[in-house]
Subunit: 288 residues, 2 copies
């Protein structure tokens, strides 16, 4: 439930090319206004499951995009029944969206999106109804060729692709020129995993192994582990244990129950197991 | 569309016995939190039509009431297809509301609710899809008997009902005792009419004749009369003309297009035709 200071779930993942929207609780379009995130830039929407706190804001966002004369396609990845809900709501309002809404029904684990720079995979988490996690991975960035150096060593252009991939060069006199002398490194590829809503569920560990940033729900503090289990939610320590076992670089906790006013204990408890933990706070930005 | 400072439509009508909710755009439950209106007190919900800015917040409100363990019945008056939308959304989330949601489909003009103190009627307005206005009327309040005086004049209890209704009393010696000597007046009954969304539509005049407060939409200023007509909306002067012709006591304008940042001109233009005009502002209270 929404509280005075916390809205239901929605996250924007900004990459060099994309504005991905992950879940879309009631009020998301207003919060995007508030935080000056341009709704028109969204290219893909990913909906984890059909509990209202994760999608009741979607229909309002879709129709507002229409009223704003959006023309670009919008891709929506979600459990199948969402299509019926959207179609029914558009039908009763006698409305046609001026853009193509392309629905991708989540059915199997694995790759759901790929382009030159990024892939998105979905995987099952453990909730009361069908629920999906999402893994966003940059592709490996190619090393950058130093044009002055390749000229100096007479590297033929046919070898450039190998250079991009990090191979050393052997010249006509059998001298080996190390790749590092001919190229410069670029940023290592980043990865982000989103896991909401789920009980403690070890099968996800192999899916999210080593990610730079893991968002894992933590609806309750440690003392409510039984309640968490009965509602297919996680506690602080369970989320931190998943982070530790998966060897991720950083953990972000969220989806705090509306029964908690202050959140300090969430961080304290999780840090006992996994130190690099932060809280997903309303309106905050996190760099991967 | 929502703007920085204006949410989609929702109104709460507070009577001595009821908290009526009229329309329920996205974010209504959060705004009720903000303005400290207790959601649990709502007894009846009236939805004018199925454009999103008038009902997208309803499903979130209904499910939050459920999470708050509401037990009292909730009555919902709305166009028929809303039932299917709510049922589908509850079904996919595998949720049962812990209270009875009693759906009343709006089909004919006339009385839709009555109790000892109040009646609610619906009437058709002129919009792109089926759309209803609502008229809330207190019943005539009975005059209050002055017990000292009825004893003094020996009025038999069998005549009390006639006294309540304002009749004069004739005693055994044929002296007429004026009702005003035996009873005291009470507050005259109040009435409120809600008209959204609608083009300029004179048939509503007879329905709302003489109401204490008329809410009439005014999506556009006067210079956009053509645009208003093509979209089945009204301008300032059209709303004011309806108020004048219906002889209402006060006019409240609302549903301003998101293209307007400042609203001063709405009041100025309407006042030229109907002076006692006010603007429906976010979070404000209006006494009938």
């Amino acid at each position: 439930m929404p509280t005075h200071s916390r809205h239901p779930t929605a996250q924007v993942l900004q990459t060099s090319d994309h504005t991905f929207l992950i879940d879309c609780g009631e009020g998301t379009q207003m919060q995007m206004n508030l935080y000056k995130i341009r709704r028109s830039k969204i290219s893909q929407v990913f909906i984890s499951h059909l509990h209202g706190d994760h999608y009741f804001g979607l229909i309002g966002l879709l129709t507002s995009l229409g009223l704003n004369h959006r023309a670009n396609d919008l891709h929506l990845y979600a459990p199948a029944p969402l299509k019926e809900i959207i179609d029914l709501q558009l039908h009763v309002s006698n409305a046609n969206l001026p853009y193509s809404l392309i629905f991708h029904s989540l059915e199997n684990e694995g790759l759901i999106y790929a382009d030159k720079k990024i892939t998105v995979e979905c995987f099952k988490v453990d909730h009361r109804i069908e629920c999906w996690g999402f893994l966003f991975k940059e592709k490996k960035n190619l090393r950058k060729i130093n044009s002055e150096k390749v000229n100096q060593y007479n590297v033929p252009t046919s070898f450039y692709e190998s250079l991009h991939e990090g191979k050393d060069f052997v010249d006509a006199n059998n001298n080996m020129i190390k790749n590092e002398s001919l190229t410069t490194a670029v940023t290592p590829p980043k990865s982000y995993a989103y896991c909401a809503d789920t009980g403690y569920y070890e099968p996800i560990i192999e899916k999210i192994k080593g990610v730079d940033l893991l968002y894992h729900e933590s609806t309750y503090l440690h003392n409510l582990e039984e309640k968490a289990a009965s509602r297919f939610h996680s506690t602080t320590k369970q989320a931190a244990t998943i982070a530790k076992k998966a060897g991720v670089k950083k953990l972000l906790l969220g989806h705090f129950s509306s029964m908690y006013e202050k959140l300090d204990d969430f961080k304290t408890e999780a840090c006992e197991i996994f130190e690099n933990t932060d809280l997903a706070e309303e309106g905050a930005c996190y760099f991967v």
